[in-house]
Structures are given as C-alpha cells and as structure tokens.
C-alpha cells in the first residue's frame, strides 16, 4: 500500500525557423527578428520580473503592475483615448506575466507603426497610474480569483493549486494572479514602487520582429535607455523547493462538483537547452503530448475507456492548456516541474483515473520506451516542432527565450536536429535520471473530500463500470 499524506484544502483560492536572420545583440539585451515579407511589425518588450518578485503579503503585484500599464492611462492619454487611437489599427497592447518574466507585446500593420509605437512607448515609459484605473484593474483581478478561478474552471484551479503545492514556501509559491487577501492589500503606491524598482533599463530585453527598419530599432533602443537604472536589483534565484516525502495529496473540496479534476507532479532538475532535456522531451511526448491523441495517457484513459476529454504530461510550464495547442513563449523558468494533467473524470472514477496514470508512470520509469515507441516519437517531434512558432510574433518570443536559457542558436532548430541525433538509450537514461513515481504531490478538485481522503488512506479498491467490454489489450490491475 502506498502511503498518502493528505491535506484537505478549502481555502486555497482565497526568423522563423531561419535563425540565421535572428540577431541577438551582445552588448544590449535585444533580439531582432527581421522578416521583410511580413507586412506587420511585432514588438515584445520583456522585463526580468515576475510574481517571484511580489513582496510578502502582496501576491499578484507583478501582474497588477503590468495590467496597470496595458489597461490604464499614460501621463498624456487616458485609457479611453488609447483605445480610441488603437481601434482603427485593429491593434492592441497586451501583457503576459509569469514567475520570472513580464512581457509587454503587440503587433500592428506596418503602415501604422509610428502611431502605434507612440502609444506603446508611452505605456511603458510614461504610465499614468491613476486611481480610477487602479480600482478597475483591482476589481477585475479580484473577480478572476474570487469567482472565475474558484468556480468556473476546475481543471485550471487544479493545475494552479498543484503549482502552489509544489512550490510552497518559495518565491514561486503563489499564483501569478495573487489571492483575494493580497490583492485587497495592494495599494496604488505599491504599484508605483514596483514599477520603479523593476521596469529599469538594466532589466529590459527588447524584441522586434517583422518588417521594421533600422531607424525603428534605433528609436526603440534610445527610448528604453530612458528607463531608470536598476543595477542593484536582487533576484530571488532558483527556488529552493521543499523535498516531497511519498505521495502528498491536497484535496480541494467543491461541493456539488459533478466531476473531479486531477493534477500531479514534482520538480525536475533539467531545463531547455541542457543535456538530457531533449531526451526527456521525447519521453514526455510519448507519455503525454499536450492535446494530442499520440499521448499514451490519452490512449489509456480516454481512448480505451472514455473516462474524460484528455490526459497529458509536461516538462515545462504550459499555461492556458485548455485553449492553447502549442507551448507559448516567454514563460521561461529556472525551475520546472514534471506534471500530469487528467481532465475532469466522473467522480466515481477519480481514484481509478489517478491510479491508471500513476501505473503508466511506473511502467515508463521502470521500463523506458521500446525501440518502436522511441522511433515513432522522435520522428513525430521532428516535424511537430514546426508547428510551435508559426508566426513572426511567436518566433520572436522563442528567440528571446533562447537568451533566457543561454542557448547558443535556436532552440527550435536544435530540437529538430536532436530528434535525428538522439538514441533510445539516451532517452531511457533521461527517464531514469529525471522521472520517478515515489515522491509526488497530487491535487484533486472534487465534491467529497472526506470520502476521497478515506479511500486514499484505506487504499480502497476503485474498479470502474465499463459501458462496454473491458479493453482486452490494456487491462489495469
């Protein structure tokens, strides 16, 4: 019997592939991605700041600050004025915040670049930080955390809860969007101070893509130099994750839920670009390629038994998995986790579904991939990676991540080459080195926490009722 440490929680939410054309500046932090045939221009201005920099008690401040920039006034223009000016261009200015990075980004038809950039630079360099915008942004963020995340999307709740569970006690240990109490505690002065500390010229990476000209590059560089200096900035460094002992379970009770969302995982010590990463990527793809029927977990849980909509695994953070098909750029991290996502299953099959995934993980770790599984998956990935960045904007983002991970060249290009060069032995070695099944954290979002706790503690059998004859080729214990 496997020992579970169970926590019942009801408080939780409170170029292209032509990388020869990608120019990475050595002096300044800048990535240029010229594509003259693209009639649009993409801008990504990235700051090395994220939720790991949120002060204690102010969880969500990094996201709040970014939202105040892109959803608020500048010193010259109200937010209303900005929307009016952006509208005929069909353009927008957006933000994305993760644990370590914040990116302000947008794309516009090149005819409009001067007018568009005039707004863009004001958003970053001359934010208005008005009380009116502050109240609106706070209300919106509270609504997301208090209502949307807690009630409207159980699987997203489960995935975010797993991140908090694994990284608890570290600067990664709270969701980017913050919590109700911390959001309520944030003041406009906090936002101003955060901006002053982290939106600095020493902390910015400029990314430009598409059909810009050299004069535009000069202008953007010159503008970003007007940001204040921030040389003494202290970053928290790689999070020191508390070791996991056995199977640690957190159950989030949601009374009346008609299905159970399950996520589990643990930290892994390998990052994009490092030796072993590409081999592990092959194993992970075979085991649980995101939103793809090639995933082994998908085949076992959904395809053979029809228990849910899909089952996947990850070795890098993959946000918004319910709506995205491919991994987004600029959510790079110095600490990643191995994660399994089991989409909502009927409540009476929750333990079975977890055990099925757990069992398949045992088999993967103990046996590795077969020759044919290895060949099929490496061939698959060799072409599949072509879909990861189909636009100038996404290619630019990937090229910027290459700088984060100190990758010499293009990750996507190297990835493709590695799929030809790797051996099965390297893949199976990576599985042994990075994956295991003894120490994991597991999150259930379900309707009856006490009953599940009891079932886990007593190791209660969890047979399921098949609507059709039990699959012959893949009987579970």
């Amino acid at each position: 019997m496997r020992k579970f440490l169970i926590l019942i929680s009801m408080f939780l939410i409170g170029g292209t592939f032509i990388f020869t054309s990608c120019q990475k500046s050595t002096g300044e932090k800048m990535v240029l991605y010229p594509v003259q045939e693209d009639p649009t221009i993409s801008i990504r201005i990235m700051f090395e700041v994220g939720s790991q920099n949120d002060p204690v008690g102010k969880d969500g401040l990094a996201a709040f600050t970014a939202a105040m920039l892109t959803e608020g006034a500048t010193q010259k223009l109200s937010y209303e004025n900005i929307l009016e000016k952006l509208y005929p261009m069909a353009a927008s200015i957006n933000n994305q915040v993760d644990k370590e990075l914040t990116v302000i980004y947008g794309r516009v038809y090149k005819d409009h670049i001067q007018d568009y950039y005039d707004l863009f630079r004001q958003v970053i360099l001359e934010p208005g930080f008005t009380e009116e915008d502050f109240n609106r942004v706070k209300s919106s963020m509270l609504n997301y955390v208090e209502n949307n995340l807690r009630y409207a999307n159980d699987e997203e709740l489960g995935k975010k809860a797993l991140q908090e569970f694994i990284f608890e006690g570290t600067p990664y240990g709270h969701i980017v969007e913050g919590h109700v109490s911390s959001l309520k505690a944030i003041t406009l002065d906090d936002v101003k101070a955060f901006y002053k500390n982290y939106y600095t010229r020493d902390n910015v990476i400029i990314g430009l893509g598409g059909s810009y000209d050299s004069g535009f590059v000069t202008r953007v560089k010159s503008d970003m130099k007007t940001l204040p200096s921030g040389k003494n900035l202290q970053q928290p460094g790689k999070p020191q994750v508390k070791p996991i002992n056995g199977l640690e379970v957190r159950i989030i009770e949601k009374p009346g839920a008609n299905a159970t969302a399950i996520s589990f995982g643990y930290p892994i010590d390998v990052l994009r670009g490092q030796r072993g990463f590409y081999a592990l990527a092959v194993a992970n793809s075979w085991f649980g390629e995101h939103r793809n029927s090639s995933s082994h977990l998908y085949q076992v849980i959904r395809e053979a038994r029809g228990l849910n909509y899909g089952d996947y695994s990850y070795i890098e953070y993959f946000p918004q998995g319910g709506s995205r098909q491919f991994p987004p750029p600029n959510v790079a991290r110095h600490q990643q986790i191995f994660e399994v996502w089991i989409r909502p299953v009927p409540n009476d099959a929750k333990l079975f579904a977890f055990r099925a995934a757990d069992r398949e993980l045992h088999k993967l770790v103990d046996n590795g991939l077969t020759d044919s599984e290895f060949k099929l998956t490496s061939n698959f990935l060799k072409n599949y990676v072509l879909h990861f960045a189909p636009t100038t904007m996404s290619q630019l983002g990937y090229a910027m991540d290459d700088q984060f991970y100190n990758i010499d060249g293009s990750y996507l290009k190297i990835f493709r080459q590695k799929m030809t060069d790797l051996s099965k032995a390297e893949v199976n070695e990576a599985i042994k080195k990075y994956l295991q099944y003894k120490d994991m954290k597991i999150v259930f979002v379900t309707d009856n926490a006490e009953k599940l706790k009891e079932m886990l503690e007593n190791d209660t059998p969890s047979p399921i009722k098949y609507s059709t004859p039990k699959p012959e080729y893949e009987k579970l214990d």
């Binding site: 170029g15 292209t16 592939f17 032509i18 045939e37 693209d38 009639p39 649009t40 209303e80 929307l83 509208y87 005929p88 261009m89 069909a90 353009a91 038809y109 009116e132 109240n135 609106r136 209300s139 919106s140 609504n143 208090e146 209502n147 949307n148 807690r150 009630y151 409207a152 999307n153 699987e155 059909s211 008609n258 299905a259 029927s293 090639s294 959904r302 053979a304 038994r305 029809g306 228990l307 849910n308 909509y309 098909q325 909502p344 009927p346 099929l376 061939n379 698959f380 990935l381 072409n383 599949y384 072509l386 879909h387 189909p390 636009t391 100038t392 290009k413 493709r416 609507s467 059709t468």
Partner: protein, 444 residues
C-alpha cells in the same frame, strides 16, 4: 530536398493596399476553385515558403442540422467518431500515421459546421489525401468504440458545465428559439448526451446523410503544387458517392413579445446580463447583415461610448461586449455584460436600451463608421499570417455559403455602408419584442 524551415512569405498580403473600391477583391491571396462531378469542391490557395500545408475539410453540418428529437449534440459527437478509423485504416493505425507525419491534427464543431483540420509537411500531401478521403467515404467503427467515445463527449460536457457562460448560453438559446434547431447549443442537452451510447444505429444514418461530397468543402492552403494536388483530389475523392439529405430544420416563427428569465448558477459569479435580438441569416451582399456586425461594434464594443461609460468611467460593469456574429440561418444578435453589483442590473439594462434608441434615431458620423470598417478589415487581414490561420479564417464563410467569394462580397458590402444603413439596421433588428433577456446570478 525542399527546405522545410522557412519563414511564411506573405507576398500577396504584403503587396496589398488597404484602400478598396467596391468591386475590388478583398481576400489577398490568389485562389482556385476545383469541383468534381460528384459536387465535391476544393479551394486551393497556394502560399509558398513554409513547407507546410493546412488542410481543412469543412462539413456544412453542425448543431443546426440536429433537427430530430433527442439528437442534440450529435454533430459534435460525430466529429469525435471520425477519428475512430476505417476498415482499411482502423483508429490506432490512423493515429499512428498522423503521428509519423508530425501533423497537427484536430477538429471542432460549431452551430453551422464541423471542421477537420490538419497542418503537415508538404511531402505528406498524397498520404493525407488518402487518409482523409478514406475516412470521409468509408468510416467504420464498432459499437464498443462508439459507446466508449460517448464517455469522452460526456467528459467534455462535464469540464465545461462548471462555467457560468455555458449555463447562460444554454438558457439563452433554449428560451429564444421555439422551433429552430439553434434552440440547443453545440454540445447539446445533457439528457441527449447521456443517451448517446444508445444511438449507434442513428450514427450510421447521420454519416450517410451528411458526410457526402455535396456537403463538404475542402480548403488547402500553404506550400503545395496546385496541378498535382488537383490530380490527387480527382484520384482520391472522385469515387465518393453523392447522397446528401438536407435536414428538415423548422423555420423559427416571428417572435412577438420579449422573453426573459433569471437563471441561478450553482457557484459564485458576478451577475451576467445577456440580451439576444433575433437577427438576419448570413448574406454577404445584404447591407443589413454587414451593417448589423458593424452596429454591434459601434454600439457595444470596446471602443463604444457605452463601454467607456459603464466599464471605464462609472465602473459599473466588468465589461460589456457584443456578439453580432454571422450564422447560416437567422440567429441572435447578443449583448453581454458582467455587472459588478446586482443592484445595477436594471441600470445597465436601461443604458443598453437608451443606446439602442440613440442608434435608432441618430445617424452615426461618416468618419466614425469608416474607422469601424477599417478596424474589421485590418483585424481580418492581420490574422492571415500562416496557412492554418488563412484556412481557419475562411471556414465559417465557406460553411455558411459554400463559397469563398462570400468573403469578398461581404467586405465590399461593408465598404458601401452609410450612416443611414446603420440606423436602419438598429430599427429593423433591435426591437424589444424580438428580444430574449437572461439574467444569470450566482450563489450569495
């Protein structure tokens, strides 16, 4: 060997200007229509440079076509069944072959159509055409697979049902329509989904009636040789037998009186107000249709006076937004708003009513109208930035009309709109007697 790793070269898009005369072609890529004797039509849109091909099989059947009692949700369910294979290529074999290609393969279902889409390296064109034509002509699955897949569909329902928007839409369409099949959402009524495992025989009939060459349009974009591709289309789709049986969809009677309902959501949410007005069927040459779309943006979009008042200045709402999108049959023109305080629901409803009255009585400015039309044009064009997005952007227009030309016609019609047209649209469609009002409230 052709180099796969190239940027998407948008030659034609790059070369176009944004000014259009009434008779100009709006869609910026050259394309060719290729039709077989059995009625199967393909649009070939070569965009060279990427080494990739996007391949969209658009079945002009969606939840709109589920006209028989107890069969709601079946078009979506059938989309799932299309991945269960044929005698020649059983499901696991099909999956393996797609995996070997490294293709991005998926499908989705809407009210008006079902799209099966793949993006793959050009070298696999022949193999993809063989696989796709084979499953569209000779789909074959066991009753066991059918029942198992029904479980996956129920799982999809379960994951979505927790969302208040899901609950809202179910109730809005159910109340707004009496006869027409738009009464149910694409996923279907839960009772029908529960009963899906028992509909194996019906599924065979569904396939025979709707998955026919006259009812499917293929769109191929990206890096391919059109001449060779047409030969392959003839070879692989030429023997597909006609046999489409049109659905017996009932016409929706004219609504005479406002309908309203308060819906309780079993969770916490801010109140959501949805007002749906009976709108027109899609017709790309009809000014009322093009005008309705623009009216929605002008009156209730992110740049509208009402948005600025309610969301930015007064901060009474989290947001207000229109969904005046196009549909094959007359559907709803919907205004959604998430309201911060339940005491303001009436106020927000009153502001929406006042805005409608303003658009009925006053003409918008010519300049403002042009700005909105430009916005819609740029938004459409900027999304045509890779083969997958090009085909995906066309899918709904082709599904509604069967013709790619409808895109050019629509944007030409839009160009000809005047302020008086916008006023006429407001007067014609935004009548309270044709409206359905849903107020969704969460737990206290």
């Amino acid at each position: 060997m052709k180099k796969l790793l190239l940027v998407f070269l948008l030659f034609l898009f790059a070369g176009i200007g944004m000014a259009h005369s009434a008779d100009s072609l709006f869609f910026p890529y050259q394309y060719e229509e290729f039709k077989l004797d059995n009625g199967f039509k393909t649009y070939l849109i070569p965009v060279h440079g990427s080494g990739l091909v996007a391949y969209y099989s658009i079945v002009r059947t969606g939840s709109r076509d589920e006209w028989e009692q107890g069969k709601s949700g079946f078009a979506h369910f059938f989309e799932h069944m299309m991945f269960r294979g044929t005698k020649k290529y059983p499901g696991p074999v099909y999956d393996r072959m797609i995996t070997e290609m490294g293709a991005d393969a998926n499908a989705y279902t809407t009210d008006d159509y079902t799209a099966f889409h793949l993006v793959f390296p050009t070298t696999y064109m022949k193999k993809v055409m063989e696989l796709e034509s084979n499953r569209f002509e000779d789909l074959s699955y066991s009753e066991r697979d059918f029942k198992t897949e029904a479980g996956a569909v129920y799982g999809e329902f379960r994951k979505g049902r927790v969302n208040p928007w899901w609950v809202l839409e179910e109730n809005l369409y159910d109340l707004a329509f009496v006869k027409h099949t738009y009464k149910h959402t694409t996923i279907g009524f839960e009772a029908d989904i529960k009963n899906m495992p028992n509909m194996y025989q019906y599924s065979l009939s569904f396939f025979k009636r709707y998955y026919r060459p006259e009812n499917v349009v293929l769109v191929i974009t990206g890096d391919f040789d059109p001449v060779r591709t047409k030969e392959l289309i003839q070879e692989y789709y030429g023997s597909w037998k006609k046999g489409f049986v049109p659905p017996k969809i009932q016409k929706e009677p004219v609504q005479r009186k406002e309908r309203s309902k308060v819906v309780k959501y079993p969770g916490k949410t801010l109140p959501i107000l949805a007002i749906g007005y009976k709108g027109p069927a899609f017709d790309p040459t009809n000014k009322m249709v093009a005008g309705a779309y623009i009216l929605g943006d002008m009156a209730f979009g992110e740049n509208s006076d009402l948005y600025k008042k309610l969301a930015l200045k007064e901060q009474k709402v989290e947001f207000i937004e229109p969904d005046f999108s196009y549909h094959r049959d007359p559907n709803l023109l919907i205004i959604y708003s998430m309201i911060k305080n339940e005491n303001d629901i009436s106020y927000v409803k009153g502001e929406i009513d006042d805005t409608i009255e303003k658009f009925k009585s006053q003409a918008v400015s010519e300049t403002e109208l042009k700005n909105y039309i430009e916005h819609v044009r740029y938004r459409f064009l900027m999304n045509l930035n890779n083969p997958d997005n090009i085909a995906g952007s066309l899918a709904r227009y082709i599904a509604m009309t069967g013709r790619l030309e409808s895109v050019n016609e629509l944007f030409n019609t839009m160009d000809s709109l005047t302020p008086d047209d916008i006023r006429a649209v407001a007067n014609r469609y935004l009548q309270s007697s044709h409206s359905t009002v849903i107020t969704l409230e969460g737990e206290k």
